[in-house]
Amino acid sequence: MSALSASIIAACARALAGPSVRWVNVRPATRQRVYFANHTSHLDFVVLWSVLPRKLRALTRPVAAKDYWSSGLRKRIAVNAFNAVLVERGGKTSEGDRIAAARNTMDMLLEALGTENSLIVFPEGTRGNGLEVGPFKSGIYYLWSKRPDVQFVPVYLSNLNRILPKGEFLPVPVISRVVFGPPLKLEKTEAKESFLGKAHAAVCALREA
């Protein structure tokens, strides 16, 4: 049931967002990857997931915010259809709580990756205005330092904020674009700042591609 409903939702998402898809210097592959993209709309992971080839979709798990995706129908869509990993975000007051939450999230992501899955993450952590790509949170760096064998593939999503902007619930069918870029090339000893800088630049570079 979940595979079917996911296919139906993917077809609806493609019909609504009419995405044109480009793979620039990278090919779809079943090897383990972390797709990281700019974030402007709740539709982001649905559309990104729906443009992957069918074989890859079964292996790819989106990472989504628990506060939005854990009620009623949304939860059923996210968890049953997409096998999403729901994580806590922000809002913690004390330093200790924050560290504990981050550790918990990292454990969930590593478990979700396992030995054959890929992930879809949005390292900005929150939806931007669609004009600039905000600074990346450091979670993606810690994920890489635990699993440097996984390819980190940048993705740029355009126009999804125009389909379903922040705070709206009715969509408008604007044509969107999904551009996949070449996996990050990293040194074994890449420092956090340098990693985040490269990752951010890789996503921005696809804007004009």
């Binding site: 044109s20 125009r162 902007p165 709206e168 408008v172 069918p173 604007v174 044509i175």
Partner: protein
């Protein structure tokens, strides 16, 4: 509504399919003969266009077989896709969101529903008057004043061209023409054939002998040779199809001329928008052709004129000097 598939319709559809078979064979022969890379790209594009024509004619024929509701639904859907390409290309802001939602999911279906119900009076003023007024009202309620008139005009323009003007094509099915009962589908077919032949022959004549550019800043491929050759060919073929229409041969000639000229004007105008936005095509939905709106631009402009001319001759009450 007036609809029937008769032997004339079979004849003309066979003619269209025959023409397409010839085009496919020529395309295939050309692809075997060319050697140079540059030529090859041009022939590949030609063959992609011909393949897309098969698909378009297939879809069009199916909607015809379904009946008037099929044609209304098909053109309504085309309007939605055209409006989507238009809206995607122009810049809109967050504050336009709800107005755009109304345009797509309320005004477009209503416009086609009015035609389907045969409410001529409402169908011809709904978008030019009521949607025209609604758009700025809704934008004002959204409370964002930056670029207000600009934003309102863009949405109004999109609704007029992509929804209102295109809806005149299936509206031909609603005309009550004496001695032409239940045959209006052929009138719609006549419009589509003449417009598309004009486009195709302007392309072919332009490729073969195009030299003097008409408006190089707007459309580098539109030449006087292509324009004249395309219009003359389309008018000649359109006139030769007078038997499928309620027109006399002379009327069919003048109608074809009006359709072809407006079609050309439509292509040129829509190209100006594309150049302003810095793109070649509105989309990539139809292989080799670009987007839906790239194929429909000439229909947008010719359908309203063709509808009103036909209605004026055959349907309207005329002033005494007309007879």
């Amino acid at each position: 509504m007036n609809f029937k598939i008769d032997h004339q319709m079979f004849l003309i559809l066979s003619g269209v399919i025959g023409g397409l078979v010839v085009a496919s064979l020529v395309g295939f022969a050309l692809s075997r003969r060319v050697k140079s890379e540059e030529r090859k790209a041009a022939i590949d594009n030609l063959n992609a266009r011909i393949r897309a024509w098969w698909v378009m004619i297939g879809i069009f024929s199916i909607s015809f077989i379904i009946g008037p509701a099929g044609s209304m639904l098909l053109f309504g859907f085309i309007s939605l896709l055209a409006l989507r390409e238009y809206v995607s290309l122009i810049s809109t802001t967050r504050a336009d969101h709800r107005t755009l939602f109304w345009s797509f999911f309320v005004f477009t279906p209503l416009q086609y529903w009015f035609w389907y119900e045969g409410w001529y009076g409402l169908a011809i003023i709904f978008i030019p008057v009521y949607a025209f007024l609604f758009v700025p009202i809704r934008l004002a309620l959204a409370g964002e004043t930056t670029g207000f008139l600009d934003r309102a005009a863009r949405i109004q323009w999109g609704l007029m061209v992509c929804v209102y003007c295109i809806s005149y094509a299936p509206a031909l099915l609603t005309l009550e023409i004496p001695n032409y009962h239940r045959q209006n589908a052929k009138l719609l077919l006549f419009l589509v054939i003449v417009v598309q032949l004009s486009d195709v022959f302007q392309y072919i004549w332009g490729k073969l002998m195009g030299k003097r550019k008409i408006a190089p800043a707007i459309s580098p491929h539109k030449t006087w040779e292509g324009f004249v050759g395309g219009i003359v060919t389309a008018v000649a073929l359109g006139t030769s199809l007078w038997w499928m229409t309620p027109f006399s041969p002379l009327q069919a000639l003048l109608m074809s001329l009006a359709i072809a000229l407006m079609g050309f004007a439509g292509g040129l105008t829509m190209s100006a928008i594309k150049r302003d936005r810095g793109v070649k095509d509105f989309g990539s939905t139809i292989e080799g052709h670009g987007g839906i709106l790239d194929r429909m631009d000439s229909i947008c402009f010719s359908a309203p004129l063709f509808f009103h001319l036909t209605r004026w001759i055959f349907v309207s009450p005329h002033p005494s000097w007309f007879h």
